[in-house]
Amino acid sequence: MTFITVLITLLALSVVTYLVSLINNKLGAYFTIVTSLVTLLLLFLLKNSIGQLASISLFTFKLTTVGWYFSMVMVVVYFTSAFLNPFWMKKMIYPAAYNLFYLVSLIGTIGMFFARDFITLFIFWETVVWTSTFIIQMGKSRKSSYVYYVVSAIGSMVTLFAMMLVYQVSGTLEISVAFNALTGQPVLALIVFFTFLLAGLSKIGIFPFHVWLPMAHGSAPHTFSPVLSGGLVKMGAFIAYISVSAFAAYEAFSSSFTIMGIPAPIYIIMVLGAISIVVGTVMAIRQDDAKKLLAYSSVANGGYILIGILLFDQLAFAGGMLHLVSHAIASATAFITIAIVAHRTGTTKMSKLGGMIHKMPITYTVYLIAIISMAGIPPMGGFVSKWLILQGLADHGLLFIAAAAFFGSIGSFMYVFRPLSAVFLGQLAPKHENVKEASIMMQIPMYLLTIATLLIGVFPKIILKVIAGIQAEAGIQEIVMVGNTIVVANGVLDTFRVFVVFGYGFLIALVIFILRRKSRRVTLMDTYTSAEFVHTPELLHYSSNFYAPFERLTKKPYPVLNLYEKVSIKIKEIGHMAESLFSSPKPAVTIFWIIIVFAIFFLGGVL
């Protein structure tokens, strides 16, 4: 089976889905599930034909391990999130269009990951940007989709510029070859490196391009947020990967100033990654909206992935690639659970929720496992990847970046706990007395993703084998696994054993617990209130400003946001000025301006 067949099949299926959706949108939504499942299966089959070249009209593709890896992550996220689509069809303004865009963006990502030349890469990239822009504005706010589009467009335009620059120098569009022409031209290489990376950075939401992410993720339709955060953000990681592998940044800058063995340009990008870890963490802690909180956590985790991939070595690279998967899964899970809570209660504001565990225990458990992974606590997937990154950083001695990584990883503990406590735990408000658990259909993706998280956490081998393949493809040292043990220069990790010992400890605790007298169940309101009486559950639910003292410490608005605001105000002002100049109520003024403009054109032509 060739890649082109797959692509055409999927396109055909998405058109079918659109047509079905026009007739019955709910059925169409089920079609999205089927189509993404088909995609998943087809992709899985494609694993055997890695190395295959394919082309259709001006698009050329190459099946690479890394492309396969990225697209698998993407499809898994799309597939699982698709299970939510049927439940949101009623709320959509254009359900049929939503279904179409959902699938087209999926195809776009796949095409992009397998692209062999710049044009293919760019066009498929743009497909994803456009479709997702349309989807985002079906959500809460239009403004966020503008911001999303503007940031994406700036990124892609600048990247396009870099591609053209490379084309001018090398005369070829093929990604793997074109960059070779840059050797020996350090200044040009520098320009290309930064401009090319820009699209990636803006997509993964690295500081200072992170502003769009919480806006878009926070206000996108609940069904699309998991895709955005779990999937689309990772497109940026792919660009980062190209910049270190095909572009061979380490060799290109080998003569430049190095910091701890890292060339300065790469180090700068890594520092940006580190900053986004800190900024993302601090901002996530401050949020009240659960979706925005998770979106900021995506910013922070994007920093980890970027740092890991940019280090491009045996350890941290594997960590970055693994983190891509574990974070994609964990954050998709978290967004899905929040989406389900929003579906049942109608809000994602944490201060308005509470006590959901008594109504949705399964959703709670799923969210719990997702955040354990997100916070990087064993025995879940997030721990392995963070461990690899931290070990890699220690190997290189990158102190400041490691400091940011530690901050992010302990800070993540704070922000992931916040929704846990405010949404699921605490007092149940009487108005939520009739909330029901997620339906079976919604539970399916949660189960799938949870099992995946656990599997990665306990048997990271499954993924690490593929990553070793990528590392082989990229020509760096492969990650070594002995049995279940990851063996690296400065440490070993046997996740299976950690899991077993944790289970052992848990068992001992459980036995002691069961041996003791059974506890009496009391209501939530029968609690310590300094012996005073209170009868309003909402008044006992501590959820808003959860980390008030910490929030106060980080209260000062950081300058970049201000800058953005100022720029946007200035642009608006210029726009108003132009408007006032040209659309004056007096026709004479308008005519005057038209004459001036014509005069300039005329003069320009003459001269």
């Binding site: 029968d526 310590y528 012996a531 005073e532 009486f533 009868h535």
Partner: protein
């Protein structure tokens, strides 16, 4: 003096009572003026911790509740609520004459006269107010009572719950009041 000499406890209960006797945590609740003698009892001079006693912040953690003197009806509601939140086995030590028969406030419209109608009292300390020495002595008595399995107020409360509830409601009308009286 002792009414119940028969000891029905099994070995585990005896061991449990040994632990309970030697580690008594009191609830941090100054219900009345006798509480002014608690700081000296707790601190360096008399050092309650010698007996394994210490203050604890909340009713769930505490073993013993000290009713340090007179109880106004307003406090009694909190005391009952707070007592019911404590975990078994739990004990009550009542300080001073006010808890026994009302003391100097025998004709007050705000204070109750006889505490053991409302909650089971394991031990009374006479005096107004009991000196730290008396308090320490009472604690020692309480310890020996627990060791012998005689401090069974909590069991008595469970068994005669209706009787206690009736008395409480007679005097208080409502134990867990519902009007948010300050707002």
């Amino acid at each position: 003096m002792v009414l119940e000499n028969q000891d029905n406890r099994n070995l585990w209960e005896k061991i449990g009572d040994y632990f309970s006797a030697n580690s008594i945590w009191m609830k941090w609740y100054c219900t009345g003026c006798g509480a002014i003698e608690l700081p000296p009892t707790m601190t360096s001079r008399f050092d309650m911790e010698r007996l394994g006693m210490g203050p604890m912040a909340t009713p769930r953690q505490a073993d013993v509740m000290l009713i340090t003197g007179y109880l106004s009806t307003k406090t009694l509601r909190r005391v009952i609520y707070s007592y019911e939140q404590m975990q078994d086995p739990k004990y009550i030590v009542a300080f001073g004459s006010c808890t026994i028969n009302g003391g100097v406030y025998y004709d007050s419209y705000a204070t109750i006269n006889q505490l053991d109608k409302y909650i089971p009292v394991d031990l009374y300390i006479a005096g107004c107010m009991p000196r730290p020495e008396a308090v320490m002595n009472a604690f020692a008595d309480l310890i020996s009572m627990i060791k012998k399995g005689q401090a069974n107020g909590w069991r008595h409360y469970q068994e005669n719950y209706e009787w206690y509830k009736k008395n409480q409601l007679d005097s208080l009308e409502e134990v867990i009041i519902h009007d948010e009286f300050h707002e």
